[in-house]
């Protein structure tokens, strides 16, 4: 076993565990924004680590692997941002521990008065 294979195996294990943690976060969190937080971060790093691990195991594929990694790192935050804004505009349930802290409300009130 070469050093690349050992590194690739470690990355595979770490990445799949982070993918699992992301799904666990989606399952456990109380409202849609916290689910987005956990899901986006953990599944992005998990997918990146897994795919990079495959790239280290098969070094001839590394260029396309890098393209896939860059695409995932670019697209996941954008889709989570679009979903978060849509759900806030639909007045989805928001979980607050103590008092309500919501600075984005002012924008929506302005939008409503303009209409």
């Amino acid at each position: 076993m070469s050093i690349l294979e050992i590194l690739g195996g470690i990355l595979l294990v770490i990445g799949s565990i982070f993918l699992f943690l992301g799904s666990l976060g989606i399952y456990r969190m109380p409202d849609v924004f916290n689910r987005l937080q956990a899901g986006t971060k953990a599944s992005t790093l998990g997918a990146m680590a897994t795919i990079l691990g495959v790239g280290l195991l098969a070094p001839g594929w590394i260029l396309k692997i890098i393209i896939i990694i860059l695409f995932i790192g670019y697209s996941n935050p954008i889709s989570s941002h679009a979903l978060a804004r849509a759900m806030h505009k639909r007045k989805a349930f928001m979980y607050f521990k103590g008092e309500e802290i919501d600075a984005y409300k002012e924008i929506e009130e302005k939008d409503n008065t303009e209409k």
Partner: protein, 85 residues
């Protein structure tokens, strides 16, 4: 080496099951879309892993196109939910 790949695939399938539960239960459309997005990401890494397991370079293209389509789908659903489409 094979055992590591089997372990990773097993953990990914557990993650898929957890997201599928959220997809089934999810109180709002946003939760379901989020679960779908996560399942797409897990699916992309699973396809890349399978392409290494079967030693087929061409499967990487499948993973890339699947990722692109999933991203576009989530954006379209989000814009629709925002009543902006």
């Amino acid at each position: 080496m094979n055992y590591i790949i089997y372990f990773s695939l097993t953990v990914m399938i557990l993650a898929l099951i957890l997201s599928a539960i959220r997809f089934y239960k999810g109180p709002s459309a946003g939760d379901r879309t989020l679960a779908l997005d996560t399942m797409t990401t897990i699916g992309v890494s699973g396809i890349v892993l399978l392409s290494y397991m079967y030693n087929r370079y061409i499967y990487l293209d499948v993973a890339l196109v699947y990722g692109v389509l999933g991203f576009i789908g989530v954006i379209v659903i989000a814009r629709y939910l925002e009543k902006a489409l």
